[in-house]
């Protein structure tokens, strides 16, 4: 019963966050444009040789998603703070973890939508040859995004309510994301290169493991972060 209530709370928060985004659209458009711009800059730094671009494609794609995603995470709380809505949200009865889960799912949808645009542009700009088993690639992308969004949503809960939130979130988040990013980049790279060494399977398993570890850790710690 209590769990069903929590599910309803999560749904309400996801719906609220996505509706706010859908009505303004400014947030999504600017974040997605930034992701594309970063890809263009990487292309200029690494190109124009086709093979060099293809070799670097996986890394550039993930970093573009990361750099643009960071803006989305801070935004997700900033919108609440401007209206004094976070305090009201905390005053409602019910578990705190439901707030985290709601924000997490909303951010996940936001970043996945952005990923679609960034990947589509990336495939064109970096002259990527799409492998035959592309559904696995989608799985890698999803796992990587989960890792980034879990930690991003967690750290943004702190940084967005501190002074200097613009610098604090990347400073806290990037070192924490190194394992997730490394696994995502390596799995993607191995996959795009035809996976001659069968390396991507192990990386995918590791990525899934990291996701689970960080998911559990952040859910346990969120209570302490949001209550003050």
């Amino acid at each position: 019963m209590a769990f069903r209530d929590d599910v309803r709370r999560i749904k309400a928060i996801v719906w609220k966050d996505l509706t706010t985004e859908r009505r303004s659209k400014a947030g999504f458009n600017s974040v997605a444009s930034l992701g594309v711009t970063i890809l263009v800059l990487f292309g200029l730094a690494l190109g124009p040789d086709g093979q060099a671009l293809r070799d670097a494609a996986a890394g550039a794609l993930w970093l573009a998603v990361l750099f643009a995603g960071v803006l989305a995470f801070n935004r997700s709380y900033q919108v609440e703070l401007e209206g004094g809505a976070l305090e009201a949200l905390l005053l409602y009865p019910g578990s705190r973890w439901a707030i985290f889960a709601g924000k997490l799912i909303a951010n996940l949808i936001f970043v996945l939508l952005m990923l679609v645009i960034v990947v589509a542009v990336g495939i064109v700009l970096f002259q990527v040859r799409i492998p035959a088993q592309w559904p696995t690639l989608l799985g890698i992308m999803a796992l990587g995004v989960v890792g980034i969004v879990v930690l991003g949503t967690f750290y943004a809960a702190m940084s967005s309510r501190s002074r200097a939130r613009e610098v604090l979130l990347p400073l806290l988040l990037y070192p924490m994301l190194i394992p997730v990013l490394l696994a995502s980049m390596e799995a993607t790279k191995a996959f795009l290169g035809g996976d001659l060494l069968n390396a991507s399977g192990a990386w995918i398993q590791m990525l899934a493991l990291f996701d689970v570890i960080f998911l559990v850790a952040t859910f346990l710690a969120f209570e302490y972060v949001i209550e003050v």
């Binding site: 702190m158 501190s162 394992p179 952040t218 003050v228």
Partner: protein, 237 residues
Amino acid sequence: MSPATPSQFGPPKPAPVWLGWGAFLFFLFTQVYAVATSPADAMMGHLQKMMYVHVPAAWVTFAAFGVVLVASLHFLWKEDERADLLAASAAEVGSLFCGLTLVLGMLWGRPTWGVWWSWDARLTSTLVLFLIFVGYLSLRSFVEDPHRRGQWSAAVGILGAINVPIVWMSVRWWRTLHQIQSNPRGLSPEYLRGLLLNLAAFTLLTIWFIWRRYEAARYERAAEHAAQAAALGDNNG
């Protein structure tokens, strides 16, 4: 929100001066002893002496981070603000030694390996640990409310501690797919004695540093409480 109660703890126990002097003199002795007694290494020559500062610095870095982890968990569990101050003090001292470990390692690596930096698991995870410390200390300096600062930095410290072995594992994997690392050679007794003595000296110095920093942090917190009480018009505070 945190109540503006005056600190319920009395003045901190001052770090004894003899400990500081003792640790410093012991450190001088162990350095001279280790350098004087160890023969030149067959491969590295006298460069090997770097071991007596680099390895102990790395050891106390990890010990200090262990203190941050335990104190952070204790703070979240018991809400004892002294644990928060201890974690902050250990983090400051730990980041100092972590930076020292990295710099000394580079100075050692350049003549030995021919490069300043190599992306192996140990180096990379030490660097990540340093970055996590930097993030932890920045977070503390950007949050005013003491209770909030305590809760948040404890969460960051604990997650950072979870992350270090994960980074180590992932970088190790990343490296082994590309090339196999060489194993460190075993250590003969004439080197080991000097190393163990220096480990002890560095540990004593670290305890002294953390204790002194903790003492200062306690006074800073007491001043914070007093300022808060004065701002609220409480003449007894």
